[in-house]
């Protein structure tokens, strides 16, 4: 008959708990992936220093930062304070300090007057790439006219205005100040100037179209460095205002309905009414729901199947063997014409005579009795042995039928 299914052998062992080794072997790919990700994260974390990164940040050492120019200013005897918000800057600015404003876009329009007030209290102001709302608030009269690519340009302005630099890499936004009489423009292009110096209430205000001259990567060229240092060197004390982005939700909320045209709202209301009408149409049933009491019907073999599941979950091999034997013995007795209460020995003799099998073998199969002295066939105890046993019983019955 069929051999033992090899898959069941390990399963039939007594130990059911999973060892750590099994667990590791099973999850090895996942463990390797997770370990790789963690390793990469650690490596990148170590490589990237904790120094802040940010464009025009006086504490950032990367190419776009401005730590170099701030350090040079300090080496030359100056003082650079970094302010990350308007309130902080207000505590630092004095009448003798230069206020540098970068990243002005982070100051919302409703706080622009605060900045103007701050600028009014400073000795000098340098606005780097100011957005229009700051420009108009701090230096009214200066207007942005356009923009030009950053490249090496001649200063073309009165000496000293561009910090002594004859040419530098400049560009970016362009400004004019036609209404301000004392204003001086440098690095002109397209009718505007990339650097504009104006006097407002007796203090110099410089507007820079691009922050590139202040960046670490630009200080290598002599003229750019000169321009940058001279821009900062105007005062000994520099307050570098680089405002943090405003928290989300600050600023005036614009109600959504104000942005929707009135007709659309009215149309939507009518659409809603239409949908309600459609819903009313669909909701009205034509006549009542008819309920019906149905008889309970279960499969008649349910109890037998339940018993089979119980045998299986308990692995009740002994019960199974006994049930199969009982059925086989009754069928054999009927076939061999023996009475229902025939003795075991009588049945074994009759079967053995019909099939020619040794009596001990038939006895072991039908009654599970182990012949004395012989090693004997062990009673089936696992699933594979059970299947073999059932097949062996069937074979015996078939032999009796055929003989």
């Amino acid at each position: 008959m069929s051999g033992a299914p090899s898959t069941d052998v390990r399963d039939a062992g007594t130990a059911r708990s999973v060892t750590l080794r099994d667990w590791v072997a099973r999850w090895r790919p996942l463990i390797l992936i997770v370990a790789g990700v963690v390793l990469l994260a650690v490596v990148f974390g170590l490589l990237s220093s904790s120094a802040p990164t940010g464009r025009l940040d006086p504490e950032a050492p990367d190419r776009e930062g401005s730590r170099a120019v701030a350090e040079i200013h300090r080496e030359r005897g100056g003082r650079v304070d970094v302010a990350r918000g308007l309130e902080q800057a207000a505590g630092l600015v004095t009448g003798d300090s230069l206020l540098v404003v970068v990243d002005g876009g982070n100051i919302l329009p409703d706080r622009a007057p605060e900045l103007a007030e701050l600028a009014g209290g400073a000795g000098a102001v340098l606005l780097v790439e100011p957005p229009p709302h700051l420009l108009s608030a701090v230096v009214p009269g200066v207007a942005e006219t356009g923009s030009t690519p950053v490249r090496t340009r001649a200063a073309r302005c009165p000496a000293g205005a561009a910090g002594g630099a004859a040419e530098a890499r400049m560009g970016g936004a362009l400004y004019t100040a036609d209404e301000l009489p004392g204003a001086v423009g440098c690095f002109p292009a397209q009718g505007g100037a990339a650097l504009l110096r104006a006097e407002l209430a007796g203090r110099p205000v410089t507007v820079l179209g691009t922050g590139e001259p202040l960046q670490n990567g630009r200080l290598l060229t002599a003229d750019d460095a000169a321009l940058a240092l001279n821009l900062l060197g105007e005062r000994e004390h520099v307050v570098w205002l680089i405002p943090d982005p405003p928290p989300p939700g600050s600023g005036q909320p614009v109600p959504l309905d104000a942005l929707i045209p009135r007709e659309v709202v009215l149309g939507a209301v009518q659409l809603g009414i239409g949908v309600v009408l459609v819903a009313l149409w669909r909701a009205r049933r034509l006549g009542p729901v008819v309920a019906e009491r149905l008889p309970v019907v279960v499969r008649a073999s349910e109890t037998v199947e339940g018993r089979a599941r119980l045998y299986r979950s308990r692995r009740a091999a002994d019960r199974v063997v006994e049930a199969l034997r009982l059925g086989a013995r009754e069928r054999l007795r009927a076939r061999l014409g023996l009475p229902a209460d025939a003795a075991a020995a009588q049945l074994v003799r009759a079967v053995s005579a019909r099939t020619g099998r040794p009596g001990a073998e038939v006895d072991a199969l039908l009654y599970g009795s182990v012949p004395p002295g012989a090693a004997g066939t062990a009673e089936p105890s696992d699933d594979a042995a059970l299947v073999r046993f059932a097949d062996a019983l069937d074979t015996l019955e078939r032999e009796v039928r055929r003989s």
Partner: protein
Amino acid sequence: MALTGRTGLLGVLASVLVLLVPLDGWMLLIVALVLLAGVLADLALAASARRVRFERSGDTAIRLGESATVTLTVANPSRRRLRGRLRDAWPPSAAALPRDVPLDVPAGERRRVATVLTPTRRGDRRAAAVAVRCTGPLGLAARQAVHEVPWTVRVLPPFHSRRHLPAKLSRLRELDGQHRAMIRGQGSEFDSLREYVPGDDVRSIDWRATARATSVVVRTWRPERDRRILIVLDTGRTSAGRVGDTPRLDHSLDAALLLAALAARAGDRVEFLAFDRRVRAHVRSAGTSDVLPALVQAMAPLEAELVESDAGALVATLLGRARQRALVVLLTDLNAAAVEEGLLPVLPALTARHLVLVAAVADPRVERMAAGRGDAPSVYAAAAAETARTERRRVTAELRKRGVEVVDAEPERIAPALADAYLALKAQGRL
């Protein structure tokens, strides 16, 4: 009242109008008023749904598996034309089609609506309601009403086993002829005298008649007629189980019908009793011809009850009803617990006076499970099925030991097997 899809469509389309010509919001009001006016006009002008009159006609009884046609006559007594939809609502298991129909009845006229029922189970199917919806001339709104128009279609047992009836009847006739023979049993009666032919049992020679005649005369006997057959159907929990696609109860009903038809033709008096803890149905035939229709009518509404049958009460009822000796055919299940605890203790009282035959429907699924081999689940199932079969055999043996005839057959075989058992008893003159 009810709105129509047209109202909804207009409401949705009007949103485009409001979008394009908002008129500062006044358009919303205008659209609403126009729609409201249309709806009110429709409601005012639609034919009254409440005043519609109905009449029913059609089939009242069918066998399970057949289709019944029930016709509804819709009369419109009003002066307005009735247009709309009508739904003749039946329980789901009646499988009524069509679900609803369009309706157009001119003023003062009548129309017929036919509904075809193809019930999926036995019993009485009652018409639930008739809903009628009368749409107004604009098609924006409708008046709706629900009417009670009672009608019942009784779904009778299918009696599939009647195809076995001709064969069994010919066996019966054969029996009649054959046993106009010498065998004289308890249940045989004197038939006639005829001339002796070689081969006849010499014990049946009527010497007195022979003395009067010139030749040897023998008496002939025939199976006794006018015996009582009491068919008892167990409607307790064991009859609720589904064997194949049908509850055990329905298989039993089928077998009971074949037996009743056969016994009625054989000239026996048939009585039918359905019992679990009390009498569910009872039929006693007055004559022999009308037993089958009455039986089928009584069986139609029977359902299995989820209670344990009370064998003691059953036996008491039987003894009270049948005073003469009768063949008691008990259609139940050979459930070990139910039989050993319920029936066996009270059986002697019954067998003392009557001949008892127990018929049970075997489950072919258990047989299939018992034959299952090849893998562990099949062998476990085979063992469970083998245990069930062993119990069943034990119960059968117990019953036979007490002189009870047992018929245990699969659903397709139970009806003919029971008929055969009856014919065998009759042939043996044991009735």
